[in-house]
């Protein structure tokens, strides 16, 4: 039975263990955030403190409100957190290998969203969007974006970073910022000239009909979206997926989380179990020695950009599915937040990027959703609070949450 046992080991090591780790991160972060929110809800419910800033809106039972919103806040936080995590992987891998922050990564992410739009729109123009299996459409979008953005990242590395490899550290950084602006404007120009558009809305409502399987499970077709109009079939992406109890979520959220988990698990497998993945890790730890092993360092760097770019592209599509509209400027904030997530988790550390992404997503979701109940503050302050938490964490752990542990640095 050694073959069977080996297969078992393999599944355990490269599938179950990483998924288990992701689950632990999600559950623990969610539990801590929920506990804190409930605690704050209970403490600030009555204005005993006399601090104007912390006074809640009249007639609002904050604790009740937290309880009511908790499932939504968790789902919102986790789904955007996974998107941040997938983007953050691109930042962290490149940093691990080159000790260089690829600031153009946020725009590679944006281009991924644009590719998703292009694929969807072209399928729509060919009248294939509603007849093709929806999951196939999404898979196609993701794969096309991964291929395009992976190659784009490699080309950028060749043209804008590689010639500067020996230069002082700030120089490639400036180059990256320049590439970032360039990509934004190129996308803007191309879309303005070819389609005369700036907004690139995903035709989400036109994607397929729900597969039979969801007809069998009790799902709630949103028939009364607004008065006077009804879908024959609920759009596939709005299919409600039952979770625990009365709680449901929509197909988009499930697709985002599942795709992100597949990518993280896949990356984990690649980096830890394949020769090329180990080669990348070797290069990230010691370039000269890696070269002495016969490893082509430039090839590994190219590979790193390819993978990082592909992940960024995939994240762009997931983000597009989530927000329904892509513009050439959409990359900046998610990129900044994903970079923050990478730092929060410990830059250079793959597991850290995942943890950082989920944590930041949750922080953002909780703060934005609860600050409206404090009239003196408002939802506009959510970033300030989320980033204050980041600063606090970095004060106590300057290397990020997982930065010091002997985890795989890539």
């Amino acid at each position: 039975m050694p073959a069977l046992q080996r297969a078992g080991n393999w599944i355990n090591l490269y599938i179950l263990k990483p998924i288990g780790q992701i689950l632990v991160f999600v559950v623990v972060s969610a539990a801590i955030m929920s506990a804190l929110a409930l605690l704050l809800g209970a403490v600030l419910n009555t204005p005993w403190h006399g601090i104007d800033l912390l006074k809640t809106r009249k007639g609002i039972d904050l604790f009740n409100q937290v309880v009511k919103q908790l499932p939504d806040m968790l789902l919102d936080g986790i789904s955007i957190g996974f998107v941040y995590a997938v983007i953050a992987l691109g930042y962290t891998m490149v940093y691990g290998v080159l000790r260089f922050i690829n600031f153009a990564h946020s725009e590679i992410f944006m281009v991924g969203g644009v590719i998703g739009f292009e694929v969807m729109t072209r399928l729509g123009e060919a009248n294939a969007l509603s007849t093709m299996p929806p999951l196939f459409v999404i898979l196609l979008m993701i794969l096309m974006a991964m291929a395009f953005c992976g190659i784009l990242a490699v080309v950028i590395e060749r043209i804008a970073y590689k010639p500067l490899r020996g230069a002082p550290k700030l120089v490639p950084l400036i180059s990256a910022i320049g590439v970032s602006f360039l990509l934004t404007d190129v996308v803007r120009a191309v879309q303005a000239l070819s389609r005369n558009v700036f907004n690139m809305p995903y035709p989400l409502d036109r994607v397929g009909n729900p597969p039979r399987i969801f007809d069998l499970i009790s799902f709630d077709p949103i028939t009364q979206l607004s008065k006077g109009q009804q879908f024959l079939n609920p759009p596939f992406l709005q299919t409600r997926i039952p979770l625990v109890g009365n709680l449901t979520t929509n197909m988009t959220t499930v697709i985002i989380i599942v795709s992100a988990i597949i990518m993280v698990v896949g990356l984990n497998y690649f980096v830890n179990a394949t020769k090329l993945g180990k080669g990348i890790r070797a290069v990230s730890q010691d370039q000269t020695t890696a070269a002495l092993m016969g490893i082509n360092v430039n090839q590994m760097i190219t590979l790193t950009f390819l993978i990082g770019g592909a992940l960024g592209g995939a994240a762009g599509v997931l983000f597009g599915l989530k927000v329904a509209n892509i513009t050439p400027y959409i990359g900046f904030f998610p990129g900044l937040k994903a970079f923050t997530a990478a730092v929060l988790g410990g830059i250079g550390n793959i597991t850290g990027a995942l943890l950082g992404g989920i944590l930041l997503g949750l922080l953002e979701a909780f703060f934005s959703a609860l600050l409206p109940f404090f009239p003196a503050l408002g939802t506009g302050y959510s970033d300030i609070f989320a980033f204050s938490v980041l600063i606090l964490v970095l004060l106590f752990r300057p290397t990020g949450l997982l930065g010091k542990k002997e985890d795989e640095k890539v």
Binding site: Q69, M73, I159, R188, S226, Q229, A324, N325, S368, P372
Partner: protein, 417 residues
């Protein structure tokens, strides 16, 4: 590697070259009169900004003849403010430095118009706004600043009146985009709603452009029957789309910033049924607009979006004023101050959007506020949005005069459903 470096160099040189060869104001030819348009021609709001630009261009083309007969060439110079105050102000500096520019039609965004018009006013350059509804645009009392559209205090009130009377709203949640325009009109709306006894569950500003999840969550929990978004369609559409997707069933409402077909393009079915107020009516309400729509389509091969007609009307006023100054001063190059004075003096002037008279602050003495409802998710059918109600109201100065004159000053609903 070498090749890459040379490529970068070539690109850099090309960029520099394009700046150097950009049109430079020619000051020596005194026989040229220039009219500028200033609106976002790039970015998320370029749909409406371009409509303004096109309106101005079309009007100049059609009405420049009398001025050209007096020995002047009329040139059109469009500027792109990118819907950004900084860009608007820096363009404004360039505009006032070109002495041939005698008047300007713009902007789309009040947040851009207010700081930019400070620059124009210092240089006596008259601005006629096709779209800026924020009260502070004219309430500063500048002799150079005018508008052909209505005001947000009246627009917010008109929206609130409709929400209470026709939609039966009891609980409303108000969002805005943190711009002078969006926050301004949202404030007036919320005040009017509160005055009518409606519970305002929340009043939040956000610059978020993509992921509204966390903003929607508390709204879903508070269960309002109406959500009002004081802002512009490109941001609002994404919000409305995501709110519907999250199962929110409230009615949606917004100010004239919703009036762009991209709203339907982005949000699709989610905004069918959305009600928006507008200080600019659909072309169908203006009898004179029929020919304008035809000419516009012929020249630009697209439908006129909101504010195209207002841009056209603003230019009609500007050109008529210049013509008047020229005929009074015997054909000498008019001064900006004279042009500004002539524009302010506009009384009962026939434009494509009806008769316009300016009050002492540059507001139209009487403005009509339209309430429209989105009927179709297809952006190509944006023009078929239904006019469900309209309200005509005098400007504050006019109202005051009427009060002093002992006349009835309450806004009067002229048409309903």
């Amino acid at each position: 590697m070498k090749a890459a470096k040379y490529l970068a160099l070539v690109i850099a040189l090309a960029l520099v070259g394009s700046f150097v060869t950009a049109p430079v104001a020619s000051a020596q030819d005194a026989k040229v009169i220039k009219i500028a348009s200033h609106s976002p021609l790039s970015g998320g709001q370029s749909l409406l900004g371009t409509a303004i630009r096109n309106g101005v261009e079309l009007a100049i083309e059609q009405y420049k003849k009398p001025i050209e007969d007096m020995g002047f060439t009329v040139e059109f110079v469009p500027f792109d403010d990118q819907a950004t105050p900084d860009v608007g102000v820096s363009n404004a500096q360039n505009i006032v430095n070109d002495p041939a520019i005698l008047a300007l039609v713009g902007h789309l965004n009040s947040g851009v118009a207010i700081p930019s018009s400070e620059v124009y006013n210092r240089a006596d350059l008259a601005m006629v706004s096709p779209a800026n509804t924020n009260v502070n645009v004219t309430d500063r009392g500048y002799p150079t600043v005018n508008r052909v559209c209505g005001r947000d205090d009246a627009q917010g009130a008109a929206g609130a009146q409709y929400a209470v009377e026709k939609l039966g709203s009891k609980k409303v949640y108000v969002l805005h985009d943190k711009t002078a325009y969006g926050e301004g009109v949202a404030t007036f709306f919320a005040q009017a709603m509160e005055a009518a006894g409606v519970e305002v569950l929340g009043f939040e500003g956000t610059t978020e452009a993509a992921n509204f999840d966390a903003i929607i969550t508390p709204i879903a929990a508070l269960e309002p029957d109406l959500i009002y978004f004081g802002g512009i369609y490109n941001q609002a559409a994404v919000f409305f789309k995501q709110a519907r997707d999250k199962g929110i069933k409230a009615n949606f409402m917004g100010p004239d910033g919703m009036d762009g077909s991209d709203l339907a393009k982005i949000a699709g079915e989610a905004v069918v049924g959305l009600v928006y107020t507008s200080a600019a009516g659909p072309a169908s309400v203006y009898p004179a607009a029929e020919k304008f729509v035809e000419d516009y389509k012929a020249k630009f091969t697209i439908n006129p979006e909101a504010y195209a007609a207002e841009g056209y009307a603003s230019t009609q006023i500007v050109l008529a004023a210049i013509e008047k100054v020229l005929s009074e001063n015997g054909g000498a190059m008019p001064t900006r101050a004279d042009v500004a004075k002539a524009i302010r003096a506009t009384t009962d002037f026939d434009t494509v959007i009806g008769k316009i008279s300016f009050d002492a602050n540059g507001d139209p003495k009487v403005a009509t506020y339209y309430i429209l409802q989105v009927k179709n998710a297809d952006p190509a059918k944006w023009g078929e949005n239904e006019l469900v109600s309209s309200v005509t109201a005098p400007s504050p100065l006019t109202a005051k005069e009427m009060m002093e004159g002992g006349m009835e000053a309450t806004p009067e609903a002229t048409k309903s459903n």
